[in-house]
């Protein structure tokens, strides 16, 4: 029973993490010959993946769980908006954006306590 409980996360990792991700690499290996990077299906796949990843990141900030929930919603929102503005201003630098976002989060969190 306890062995099952311990192995369960690894089973999920393979079934719902590894396989659904790896399948696309294998598909690319076998059927992808001669497909250009600008073909319509590739554009659609890129759009879906972009929306999904942006959505997951936004959801993690809005509905924070675990350690991030320690910081109030307003500060989390302020940090991500501020970080994003910095990212846009400074030549779209992810490094600068993350740095500013983190600084705002820590400062805001520290002042509110």
């Amino acid at each position: 029973m306890s062995v099952t409980a311990e192995l369960w996360p690894y089973l999920l990792l393979i079934l719902v993490g590894f396989l659904p991700n790896e399948v696309w690499r294998v598909v690319g290996l076998f059927v992808g010959r001669g497909l250009s990077e600008d073909s319509e299906i590739v554009l659609l796949a890129r759009a879906v993946a972009t929306a999904l990843v942006a959505g997951v990141a936004a959801k993690l900030i809005v509905f924070a769980t675990g350690a991030l929930a320690f910081v109030p919603f307003e500060i989390r929102l302020g940090a991500v908006v501020g970080g994003f503005i910095a990212f846009l201003i400074v030549k779209r630098s992810v490094f600068v954006g993350v740095l500013v976002g983190e600084a705002l989060l820590l400062l805001g969190g520290a002042f509110l306590k």
Binding site: E22, R25, A57, L105
Partner: protein, 244 residues
């Protein structure tokens, strides 16, 4: 002599590949991403072994992010939704593999040569391979590419462990800062990868729809965020093309 880079042996090509990864611009990017993911894994009650194995077998930041955030909300109760979310993020790997293989094909001796590079395909390895491989003699490309990938993966695994233990021993505010690293960096690197109207629309739709669908507790909210946001962005792209 055709000016292409030569190596004395396959193992030398492999090790130079590792070195190229460690000196790549993607090194701090991967490091930061995986410190964040490691902290998130700790946050969601996953083990360090699980985190490390997931980096090895999944080897895709967005897929790992979707997978882990699903564990926080109960992956065991909705495995189909998690698998759908992961597979939607994985779709982008398909065109990458398609674009990478023509570079490896001339120097490959058998079909088995493609197995590792196919599994290793991820955004960082792909960008660096497309940049570096064309200047390397074809027969050294597969070992070089594998070395490059192993170099990146070693950084990811190490930083995952570092993030995990940092999150475990930090005061709450700093732990919150670590957990915020992942959403911040993913949001901005996704925005940075936007190349045309299609990508910008998809990004904005995703940012709005993700929290909105979760707020209304729509079932399969992750999957719908990707499908609705992505298809709508693609629709706008097609309309604009038709108008031109």
């Amino acid at each position: 002599m055709n000016g292409l880079r030569e190596f004395p042996s396959s193992s030398r090509a492999y090790f130079i590949g590792i070195f190229s990864a460690w000196t790549s611009i993607f090194c701090p990017v991967i490091g930061g991403t995986y410190v964040g993911l490691g902290a998130l894994a700790h946050d969601f009650g996953l083990s360090i072994a699980w985190m490390t194995i997931s980096t090895m077998v999944v080897w895709a930041g967005p897929a790992q992010l979707v997978l882990m955030s699903a564990f926080a909300t109960g992956a065991a109760t909705a495995p189909i939704e998690v698998a759908l979310g992961v597979t939607l993020t994985g779709m982008r790997l398909f065109p990458m593999v398609v674009a990478l293989l023509p570079l490896l094909r001339p120097g490959a001796t058998s079909g088995r040569d493609f197995i590792l590079p196919t599994h290793f395909t991820s955004i960082s390895m792909w960008v660096e391979s497309l940049r570096l491989l064309p200047s390397i003699e074809p027969r050294w490309r597969v070992p070089f590419c594998n070395g490059l990938s192993c170099g990146f993966m070693s950084i990811a695994m190490t930083c995952g462990v570092i993030g995990y233990y940092l999150a475990a021993g930090m005061p709450p505010l700093f732990a919150a800062g670590l957990s915020c690293l992942t959403p911040l960096s993913f949001m901005m690197s996704t925005a940075k990868n936007c190349r045309q109207l299609l990508d910008y629309c998809a990004f904005i739709f995703g940012v709005v729809l993700g929290p909105l669908l979760a707020w209304y507790q729509v079932g399969l909210d992750l999957m719908w965020t990707g499908v609705i946001g992505g298809v709508a962005a693609y629709g706008i792209h097609r309309l604009r093309e038709a108008a031109q």
